[in-house]
């Protein structure tokens, strides 16, 4: 509970009204990813350089000669946002040391979708995080390759139908669960790792500010609702993000120096996953028995997380 009554209600008014990711971009109606990106940019402020992977956010924001970016921004390719960011960070560091740019902190930020993070971009991400660049990496996870037409990635949840994991007579869609990249980042000794969701904008922005303050690598995995790919109503984007938390599908937590902590309280009694699944066409084919399997997977993942929340300790202690 916040000490100020209805703090969350008023806090939005305190958020910076300036937009460094501005309107006029080409994102779909109800896009949760671009909403997250907008909040992220607000929280990051002006002193950043963004390295963006190929993907939805790049395509909707940079149709030459237009740009939605009012902060310095570079796009090179799909799998290399972390590597491009590494170069930017190294350059900012050495040029500052040599007095060729002003002597102040400028944060390097890398942005990629789930494909550009958990699949094709994982090696570059691992390298950059291991080397310890002063860089925050955002994975904007809409759970499939949406930009190319909804193909499965290793972030696609169990049971979801995509164009390359279609539901068929002998298939219930995606056969595997979500690759746990936040955990992989913790294993790299990244001092600040978090999950976030634009349905909880203050939680998201607080985490972004924390990540920015880290002098070193940080990673935020952002659940990014996608009406186009999830076959959901564009008016229900925010609701889906909230349901993802309330059903335990996508818990919001942070890991500071190895210590796991839930940042948004989950209801004591979680809602059944079916409440979340039934709003999305990508799960339409699931039978009650299939939904039961999904529920089991969600329970299992949540149990693993809660165990870490209870037992993990900061490695600084």
């Amino acid at each position: 509970m916040s000490i100020v009554q209805n703090f969350d209600l008023f806090a939005h008014k305190l958020v910076d009204k300036r937009e460094s990711f501005c309107s006029g971009h080409r994102a779909c109606q109800g896009c949760g990813e671009v909403l997250a990106l907008r909040h992220i940019c607000k929280a990051l402020g002006d002193d950043i350089v963004v390295a963006n992977a190929t993907g939805c956010m790049e395509i909707i924001s940079s149709n030459y000669p237009h740009t939605a970016w009012e902060v310095p921004w570079i796009h090179v390719a799909f799998e290399n946002a972390a590597a491009v960011g590494s170069g930017v960070e190294a350059a900012l560091k050495v040029l500052r040391r040599k007095g060729r740019i002003p002597d102040r902190d400028v944060k390097t930020v890398a942005v990629a979708g789930d494909g550009g993070t958990v699949d094709i971009g994982l090696q570059a991400l691992s390298g950059a995080m291991e080397r310890g660049h002063n860089m925050t990496f955002f994975c904007l996870d809409n759970e499939a390759y949406m930009n190319t037409g909804i193909q499965r990635s290793s972030a696609t949840p169990f049971g979801a139908a995509t164009t390359t994991s279609p539901a068929g007579k002998v298939s219930m869609g995606q056969k595997t669960g979500k690759k746990n990249v936040p955990e992989i980042m913790v294993a790299h000794n990244v001092p600040y790792v978090a999950t976030a969701c634009p349905s909880y904008p203050l939680d998201l922005m607080n985490k972004v500010e924390k990540a920015k303050r880290v002098q070193g690598p940080s990673y935020i995995h952002v659940f990014s609702m996608c009406p186009t790919g999830w076959r959901s109503a564009s008016s229900e984007t925010i609701k889906l993000g909230r349901l993802a938390l309330e059903t335990g599908v996508f818990p919001l937590y942070e890991v500071e120096n190895g210590k796991y902590r839930l940042t948004v309280e989950m209801p004591e009694k979680l809602r059944p996953v079916s409440d979340y699944l039934k709003l999305q066409g990508r799960f339409r084919h699931l039978t009650p028995a299939d939904i039961e399997k999904v529920q089991e997977k969600v329970n299992q993942e949540l149990k693993k997380l809660l165990h870490k929340v209870e037992t993990s300790k900061s490695w600084l202690e």
Binding site: I74, A83, G85, S86, G87, A90, A91, I101, Q123
Partner: protein
């Protein structure tokens, strides 16, 4: 003052790069580029060069990191070989399209498979159409000089293109040669600081790497092509000023005893020196043989090439890469197409030699040149020959 030293060429190349006061190096180790990578790391570790050395996890990331660094206004360098360059392949045309003046030292090595770590040109040839300026060094001195020239040319506001400097793996990189290493003062005089037109900094935000719809893509390709073609002017100017300052002169196409030669042999890279000995020996016997060495591969120096081969009856092109099932080695195919419309063009003989480190001796070159002499009167069949292949 420049000092005359005996030094391994890869080490000397790294010294030359350090003399250019690079800001960022991103290098992944691969044989035979390793000595460049290691020596640069040593120079940085000893504090002799104030630079960030990014120990990337792949070549794909080394060239990507160079993009980010160059975009942010840093002088960026990478080096690689063979598979490393193949892994970079995806990013190469993006670097040139973004007009990022990254410089790459390429210790040329055969491309797998089968795996082979030795020298040929099968790594650079598939990158031909990447929009990079491409130089070939013949010896250690050229590797040093051209490393320094590369930054000046790449960063010229009229150019702003990446450059790859080909240095034959092992046969050049691992040789200890006598060479002149310029002093820091001399390099500073020749190479001005990097002054990019735009950089990634919040004080003046820019977007780099926007995507292009069909209505603008063709225009971007035309610009890329024009800039690369026009870069020759800057290259010639930079070489001219190098000559004036250092007394070593560079040309896009070098000739050796080509005057009056009826048979010319054309090489790229380190083979030129061996071939020149063969030319000497044949000339001594009265055979009208000569040598043409292509230093500038991209932009292709059409005028200088035509001038160099003028009057020859037979042109032997030595290719160190195979274009499987194609019209010939990649260099011969280009040369033939360059000559197609010229009246009185020479017959072109194409030999694929020195593949995967196969030694090419003076005797081999003499043999090849003699085959060229036979072709003066008897028009050769087209196609190409795997020289010295055991069948």
């Amino acid at each position: 003052m420049a000092k005359r030293v005996g030094m391994e060429v890869a080490i000397a190349a790294a010294e030359a790069v350090a003399l250019c006061r690079i800001d960022v190096a991103a290098v992944y180790p691969i044989t035979p580029n390793t000595h460049i990578a290691e020596h640069l790391a040593e120079i940085v570790a000893d504090g002799k060069l104030d630079a960030e050395y990014i120990t990337v996890e792949s070549e794909h990331s080394s060239i990507s990191a160079c993009c980010g660094a160059s975009g942010a206004g840093a002088r960026a360098y990478t080096a690689t070989s063979s598979q490393g360059l193949m892994l970079m392949h995806e990013i190469l045309p993006i670097v040139s399209a973004m007009r990022l003046p990254v410089v790459m030292g390429l210790a040329n090595r055969a491309v797998s498979g089968p795996l082979n770590i030795w020298n040929d040109h099968s790594d650079i040839m598939p990158q031909r159409d990447s929009g990079w300026i491409s130089f070939f060094a013949e010896n250690g001195q050229e590797a040093v000089d051209m490393s320094i020239q590369s930054f000046r040319i790449a960063e010229d506001p009229e150019v702003m293109l990446p450059i790859v400097l080909n240095i034959d793996g092992f046969q050049l990189t691992h040789m200890i040669e006598a060479l002149e290493l310029p002093s820091q003062k001399e390099v500073d005089r020749y190479l001005p600081p990097f002054r990019p037109l735009a950089t990634l900094h919040p004080d003046k935000p820019v977007s780099m790497g926007a995507y292009a719809f069909p209505d603008i893509f063709t225009e971007v390709m035309k610009v890329k092509d024009s800039v690369l073609i026009d870069s020759k002017k800057t290259i010639l100017k930079a070489w001219d000023e190098w000559g004036k300052q250092f007394g070593r002169w560079y040309k896009p196409v070098e000739t050796y005893k080509a005057d009056g030669a009826e048979v010319l042999i054309m090489t790229m890279g380190s083979m030129g020196e061996t071939a020149s000995i063969a030319v000497d020996e044949l000339r001594a016997k009265g055979v009208p043989a000569g040598l043409v060495k292509l230093r500038l591969w991209r932009p292709f120096p059409f005028e200088e090439f035509r001038e160099a081969i003028k009057g020859a009856k037979v042109l032997i092109v030595c290719d160190r890469a195979v274009s499987f099932g194609g019209p010939g080695g990649p260099v011969a195919a280009e040369v033939k197409s360059a000559l197609y419309n010229d009246a009185g063009r020479p017959a072109v003989l194409n030999f694929l030699i020195g593949l995967g480190g196969r030694d090419v001796t003076v005797e081999n070159f003499k043999d090849i040149l003699e085959k060229g002499v036979q072709a003066i009167n008897k028009k050769p069949a087209g196609g190409y020959i795997f020289y010295g292949v055991r069948e």
